[in-house]
Symmetry: D2
């Protein structure tokens, strides 16, 4: 199962070539990841996107160990949010592999364009010591429905 | 009359002080301005926010001549879009003064917090020559409903 | 007296108009300010730019209360660092007004181009409580040589 | 042989965790790449860093096809430029694989820290049509001295 996170572009994501910059794309992935894992503040209603509850809590640091991304089509500025689809390629002892397909807006009509595919290895760590923390059974149970095959990269050497 | 443009924060807008960075705030204003003036592509439905039609068209450059901003309260990361209120402080011969109040989300309940106030002087210019272009009667007619008193800055020396 | 801080552009500062973005300019000012006030780590030699010693230390927060900027000429990408000239327009009880002239590289030959002028009001505050802190006599003595007339803005209404 | 490109950090590269953000790191790589390939404007002296001449010229687009990056140690803000070491892992028909090791400043004394390793696949393309362009014999001859083994990633699944 995939989590669909709508992410709005900003005109400022464009670079001098007038397309969403390749680095800016990773900012979109970061935001999709934050929105997926972020625990809403008390009193804040559930947001329109699903939330991976239980979210990573206070005192927990998430370290980025590696990222891989392939770009398939230039992304123009558009007002409708991109459809960032997110799943897990692996649930390890203390690390998770988050995979993403970045597609054109879901409600634009016609076939969606696959703009990019990516993966991020996130390590759950202690906020004070920086040491890896084990993923809890509660977290594993909440995340397992989103476990799929890892993202396949076509241009990898 | 003010135009209300919902603008989503990104976690990446935070700086090392864990609040929306003072420069990142101007990226939010830029995006609000683009969304207000952007002519949707053919086939794209009207977006949820009002559009200042007739928008500035192709071959027209918008130069930023000056900006002024005052910060009143730190902005934490939050999932709901900020309520960026936008109006014109002045419609000149070839320049417009865009004013903004940046408030906490409109639907969060309770009184809204005024985070910041700003103004941007935008000059309409010829895309090829860079020379100022006169604002057309059509544009003036479309924009006049949004003409209000210019933003009042309280900390200006 | 002005402090000259060389600041390198990044190609990523350009926007879709192929010039340094108006918001990115404020990132350059932020970096010039940080370099001017940053206390080098122990063991780090004095950097090539002068340092406003005594710098603002640990436990001290610097809040940005307002900014004003005027843009006079588009800035192209270039490898040589811009010449950001920095001085104080005012030394208040707990706030300082930092003024900037952003010029083309100092060593490029010919007359320098004034790209932009700006000012930032910085409030010295307690890192824990957020309350304004008085500027110390030591700080005042170190900063007074850089006190000049405040930046004059020509497009202010 | 590796090209050493000094890249200055900006305080704004830090995120709310007070380290250089994982996405900001790719902005540093982008700048190192631009500095390595950028043809200085006429009249601009050779910059302190070597230049991969003949540079990619006008009318040529460089498309980013994929990126891979591994993060080994958090990067604190520091005034001295990072030592971004750049080489080619492959020179293909119309694409090149740029590899990078990002190290702590070269002149800081003591052993350098390897902060991150990355690779970017760049496709040389026609600026008008977007079609891949063959790398010329002149380019190949200029770039071959920088051909080494491709970057080895230790966390790749």
């Amino acid at each position: 199962m995939r989590l669909h996170v709508p992410i709005h572009l900003r005109w400022g994501d464009l670079d001098a070539f007038n397309h969403v910059n390749n680095v800016a794309l990773l900012k979109l992935l970061e935001e999709a990841r934050v929105r997926a894992f972020w625990r809403p503040a008390a009193g804040e209603d559930a947001p329109p996107t699903a939330v991976l509850d239980p979210s990573l809590g206070a005192g927990v640091l998430t370290l980025i160990a590696r990222q891989e991304v392939e770009y398939y089509a230039p992304i123009p500025y558009q007002r409708r949010p991109l459809d960032v689809q997110l799943w897990f390629g692996k649930l390890g002892g203390s690390s998770i592999e988050v995979c993403y397909d970045v597609l054109s807006p879901a409600d634009a009509g016609g076939a969606q364009i696959l703009y990019a595919r990516a993966s991020t290895t996130v390590v759950k760590a202690d906020g004070a010591t920086g040491r890896p923390l084990r993923i809890s059974p509660l977290e594993r149970a909440a995340w397992e429905p989103y476990l799929e095959d890892t993202a396949e990269f076509t241009h990898r050497r």
